[in-house]
């Protein structure tokens, strides 16, 4: 809060806009996680939180600290690169785990039915 008074309006406007946009996108992504029906639809909701929501807030943070400290502060790029490299791995592993579990459950149910039929 103490630095906010020193921020000129041309920097404050984009920072505020990016923060509001990032927050809204984050909440929309988790809304998708909350209200969609099946798991395979739900996995697409958090993807927008991770990419665009996090991206907006990281850019806002970079802009804010660069202007208030009047030097280039770009170490948020590290978080951006890390998240962009790891989020695909996470979603792929969860998707695979879900698919294997569903296939296994259906196979078990089928063999159970067969045993009952005999």
């Amino acid at each position: 809060m103490n630095f906010a008074e020193t921020l000129p309006w041309w920097a404050a406007l984009p920072v505020a806009f990016l923060l509001v946009l990032g927050g809204l996108i984050a909440v929309i992504g988790t809304l998708g996680l909350f209200r969609l029906q099946s798991f395979y639809q739900r996995i697409h909701g958090p993807a927008i939180t991770v990419t665009l929501g996090a991206g907006c807030i990281l850019v806002a943070s970079m802009l804010y600290f660069s202007v208030t400290q009047s030097r280039l502060v770009i170490h948020e790029l590290l978080i951006a690169a890390f998240v962009l490299m790891t989020a695909p791995v996470v979603s792929m592993l969860i998707m695979r785990a879900a698919l294997y579990r569903d296939l296994r459950a259906s196979r078990e149910a089928a063999s159970h039915d067969e045993a009952k039929g005999m």
């Binding site: 697409h44 909701g45 993807a47 665009l52 695909p88 979603s91 998707m95």
Partner: protein, 174 residues
Amino acid sequence: MKRWLPSPLLSVSLLLTWLMLNQSVAPGHLLLGGALAIIAPLLARPLQPHGHARLGRPLALFRLLWLSAIEIVRSCFNVTQIILLRRSEQVNSQFIRVPLALRSPHGLALLSCLINSTPGTVWVEILPEKHELLLHVFDLHDEQWWVETIKTRYEQPIIEVFETHEAKPEGDRA
């Protein structure tokens, strides 16, 4: 040169990471980061079964990354619209199969990262029999369009980028 710097791009990014973490370009940090950038790829080499990736055309890679960044933003807004405006039953989510010609492991890793970063598509796995990619699409309207988009917009540039590397593992396997 080849012996001490097996992968220049990896070394440069390690040095940049070190400088960003310390937030300075003082000579001491440059020296430490440079040592890290030279030693870490050499030590990590036995951990990578396919060796370091060799980029045939780095410019094509940057163009591909830029185009897919635009694609990510565009499909973010599509997914946002679908989440906010449509009921869950009306969304046609399905698995599709995409036949792939790309074989290089580094190229496949890059392709999976790009596809998974784009909201609305999740890479599931490669079916080994016919080298087909199993893909889950959030809102499928035209399967043929998706297959063609992935083949022309992602796979073709990636084959171009890893073009020089392509010949070697094929030969090794045969």
